[in-house]
């Protein structure tokens, strides 16, 4: 069996750390980079190295950034009295793209998962509490996922914030836009009914 040189083998092995990349795709990527796109490969290597060396968590919202305080947190046009709590950086992006929210964020980087030993400290809730108090936040929007762990996290947070007189809201759960009731899961539909909204003239 023919074997590649050690440098090539290393690269193939290294590429496999990417999600969805098996041995075959890793080999294809390696050969593509070497044969056709050496410039792109160099740029990739530099970008990777730079990002890995510099990107860390924002000191305020825990989102990824190479700055001390990320751009969202330091943006003066944003509503500084509102914080939206999400589980992952991808959730921040999703909310940002919806364009419906102009406040600040806090990224938990996970959710409470007691069975795995992930408690309030691991997801930075002590820091969050401190931040809410220090910055005089008025409203907290809990946008954790509507899973059992996400609900547990939301409940823990609401219990932490409500006694301090902070307004707390939970994002609505219900029928997706363009969806059909017939195909919506029963539990979701039950939520949609219990959280129905009164129409006004």
């Amino acid at each position: 069996m023919m074997k590649f040189s050690p440098a090539l083998m290393d690269l193939i092995e290294a590429l496999r750390c990417l999600p969805g990349v098996g041995p075959k795709s890793a080999q294809r990527m390696t050969l593509h980079l070497l044969e056709r796109d050496r410039e792109g490969a160099t740029a990739l290597a530099e970008a990777l190295q730079y990002a890995m060396a510099r990107v860390d968590h924002c000191q305020r919202c825990r989102n990824f950034t190479e700055l001390d305080i990320c751009e969202i947190c330091s943006d003066s046009r944003r509503d500084r009295h509102m914080i939206c709590v999400v589980e992952t950086p991808a959730d921040v992006l999703a909310v940002e793209q919806s364009g419906s929210y102009r406040g600040l964020y806090f990224v938990l980087m996970g959710h409470l998962s007691p069975i795995d030993g992930i408690g309030p400290v691991e997801i930075g809730l002590d820091k969050f509490q401190q931040r809410v108090v220090e910055e005089g936040i008025e409203e907290v929007i809990l946008a954790t996922n509507p899973t059992v762990e996400g609900e547990a996290t939301a409940y823990y947070l609401s219990d932490m914030l409500l006694p301090r007189g902070i307004k707390v809201s939970r994002i609505a759960h219900g029928v997706p836009l363009g969806g059909e009731l017939e195909y919506v899961d029963g539990s979701t539909l039950a939520h949609a009914f219990s959280g129905r909204r009164k129409l006004e003239q």
Binding site: I115, G117, G119, V148, Y155, G186, S187
Partner: protein, 241 residues
Amino acid sequence: MRVNLQPAFLLHSRPYRDSSQLLEVFTPEYGRLSLVGRGVHRKARGGSLRATLQPFRPLLLSFSGRSELQSLVSAEPAGLAITLRGERLFSGLYLNELLLRLLHSQSPHQALFAYYGETLHNLSGEAAIDTVLRSFELRLLDELGYGFDPLWDVRAQSSVKAEAWYEYHPGLGLVECHSQAVPEHSRFAGHDLQAIAKGQFGGARSQVAKRLLRQVIAEHLGGRPLHTRELFRQFRQKAVQ
């Protein structure tokens, strides 16, 4: 071996590889099972397998495989998810951790499975949390064959007397003791034990029952504490502050 449409409850899931999940489920005929749900996350975009696979929801699972770790073939809901609110959600997670830690895999537990479903329903209602949890703990110990009897003095080989004091010896059971010799937090009054055996855990007795069952369960946990209990403790502590 392929099993079709087995009733089940999900106890715990964790991400596995790119888009799969490792699922720990509780079934009546096979007890606790570990399954791999391949592509569960990926399907979440089109369908809703991930949304179906949530704890506290009656499920029908089909799975196949020969090894310890079987593959999930399909999953469908067998009813509405049981909604546990607030503190009761933590209690539900506690039940799940208890089952995860104590249940042996691949042994049938029909009665316990039914009782687990019933317990979740009780939790979702107005019933006192402590009472629901204690009854489940007692039943669990019984079903697993640890056979803890709050009415039996193992040393005297007789029933517990209402006016005497008892302490719990790991590996043995309840033993009569002198009220002076044993500190208050590790001894139990006979009349409390008699009430616990009848399923009366309410009021002032709830703390006694909790203390007793905690000792009995700790013996079977092999030294590792329960995480949900720790979380609950932090939660309570915060409420006091």
